[in-house]
Symmetry: none
Subunit: 210 residues, 4 copies
Amino acid sequence: MTTEIKPRWTRRKDSRPQELLSAALDLFVEHGYAATKLSEVAQVAGVSKGTLYLYFENKEELFKAVVRETIVPNIAEAEQLIVEFEGPTRELFKRLIRTWFENINTNKLSGIAKLMFAESSNFPELAEFYRVEVIDRNELMLIQLLNRGMLSGEFKQLDLAVVPKIITAPIIMMMLWNTSFKSCAIEPILTENYIESYVDIMLAGLLKSN
Amino acid sequence: MTTEIKPRWTRRKDSRPQELLSAALDLFVEHGYAATKLSEVAQVAGVSKGTLYLYFENKEELFKAVVRETIVPNIAEAEQLIVEFEGPTRELFKRLIRTWFENINTNKLSGIAKLMFAESSNFPELAEFYRVEVIDRNELMLIQLLNRGMLSGEFKQLDLAVVPKIITAPIIMMMLWNTSFKSCAIEPILTENYIESYVDIMLAGLLKSN
Amino acid sequence: MTTEIKPRWTRRKDSRPQELLSAALDLFVEHGYAATKLSEVAQVAGVSKGTLYLYFENKEELFKAVVRETIVPNIAEAEQLIVEFEGPTRELFKRLIRTWFENINTNKLSGIAKLMFAESSNFPELAEFYRVEVIDRNELMLIQLLNRGMLSGEFKQLDLAVVPKIITAPIIMMMLWNTSFKSCAIEPILTENYIESYVDIMLAGLLKSN
Amino acid sequence: MTTEIKPRWTRRKDSRPQELLSAALDLFVEHGYAATKLSEVAQVAGVSKGTLYLYFENKEELFKAVVRETIVPNIAEAEQLIVEFEGPTRELFKRLIRTWFENINTNKLSGIAKLMFAESSNFPELAEFYRVEVIDRNELMLIQLLNRGMLSGEFKQLDLAVVPKIITAPIIMMMLWNTSFKSCAIEPILTENYIESYVDIMLAGLLKSN
DNA sequence: GATGAATGAGGATTCATTCAT
DNA sequence: CATGAATGAATCCTCATTCAT
């Protein structure tokens, strides 16, 4: 009933990294890697500078952890859908896209995408990690979707090497758009209309025209 | 009393900034704003650090100049096409896209896009400038194109508030992809196949299905 | 409610400082005062960082304690010999030197000498303490020895202000040599041969040549 | 033939490192490596912190440079004497020792010796350098001296593996003594008397007793 | 008594910027 | 116009020290 069995400070120590990562994510996304000061991260997380170093060896490791820890728990979710879904592929596609868009704003993944484009050449290992864990997995997922549609005769013959990227592009764009221009005078994209047109256009391009 | 007495230098003074801007653009694109050292810029441009300050007040102004100077001369070009082109809009669309893609690799504009996403929150005025000079103008151009198609009855009824963004997205994506992951192990997109699929999909989505 | 109920800890409190001092001595000697981290001392001693502060007010006090506690118990021993010894002074000299050398390797005193040279200007009070407790006592001891030899007619007339230092020098040197260059590629001095030559040379210099 | 061909500021840039090294040497010797602040070095040298980094990559390299640059120009001098000297070896020995002692106070080499003992385990490569450039060369020099004496029949048979160290010890001791305890209440050694007794004792130990 | 998480002052280092030449 | 030596503010990072448990 009580947690006294566990070491007294465990809870504190366990939750701390999450708070730090969360603060760091926000700031890295907002200012970029170099322009983010660790003192600021600490301040936002409500700890002292030194505390950061109890959990992350240095700024670079903190950054890597932010990217890794944010990505990993968000990937699997999407992969489920495809495997489980029953019904016409066009409906699956709609569902998938809608889910995806819904996650964009909830989810910190959008910010990571921006970071990866911005910092990939400064952190090649991270870019590699991102490719494997996000890009490749995502493309695989889309390839499965497209294959499903082509096999069922719903979709036309598609170039699986490039179509996933084309499909993904408008979603990424929206991620980037909203995380990058949030604080500027540039108005955010109207999600609802965007999705609708996007689905229309894409499906028209994917479905067999009869 | 005027500087016209030394005509030799006049030209030099004019050309020097171009070399500096070019070096700066390359480095800003590769490493980002903060990670780019002025000493490096100077070195690549073949001048001393001090010389930079003869032409640009400081790093920030250099950055702004890079963005502005690179953008401006590249915009007008595309705008011409639309006005002048005669023939079916689908052909105009194909021409436009193809020209665009051709420019991606030639042209430094791709790098600027990346920079803007990365640094827009650090340089809001620049983001604003970019929106006006690039995003808005580009959207306007696409709106003209789409209007032309809708008026001629070739295109279906389209939401002009979002479709330009959707159309642009895969092109931006490719820009970002190639400038961001160039030096990483991530393989570049195969341009030819990408364009073909892209045009197919988009046209299917834009044209009236009959 | 009081802690008197737990007598088990009392003894522990006494022994703990020795383990700490021992760990600290080793590390101070190996790395110097500033380069020795208290976390390392704690780790080597098998306690937590906090525990150190139960026994020593701060790093400086720990250092002072190390020096003092290591010196004190080792001084008296040597002083005994002279008083008790019977026989010719040259034999006493030999015995004394041999005992001294034997102690060098056993004994942590060598390391302290190194520390004192290195840190005396950072810890003047310690240097003073060292002078009184080690240098002066040692010189006094040697003066007694030399006096004994001169009175008995064995030794020539010697300058008691400097000869003790000259006699001590090769022993100190060996201490320093072995503690300083232990981990380097510098080969340690061969003790046996060193002593023999040392005693030969010194005695030749001290004894009346007839 | 003229130096005008060289860049204008050469003189400034050339002398700067020496001033920095000199300031650094003083402070390293006085406080030790870790306790010496670069800001202090800069201040003593009359430059800003940043300037240090124009000439030395970091603190460690500055330290290494201090050791190397101070040692190198001081070694050769002593080596000359032996080769050139004519006359009995005992006179050569006296000359050598006297020169040596004279240099101790003039010369910064004393401080380096102290540093090497204190920091050798933190800078093993430097210790190795010191061994080769100072210790070994010095021992070789003394071996030549001793050989000269043994061949001429002046000196008794000596163990060349250890006697050079024994001879050197009192000189090193004096170096250490004076540089270490300078600012403490410990009184410095009286050089004149020290040398005299030292030479007496050593020569008695080296010369054939007849 | 013992722990180790948390702190923050202090110092090394970087780099945009200035200025004498 | 051009240079590059010099500057010092800004930031990362370390580690002695504290204190709640």
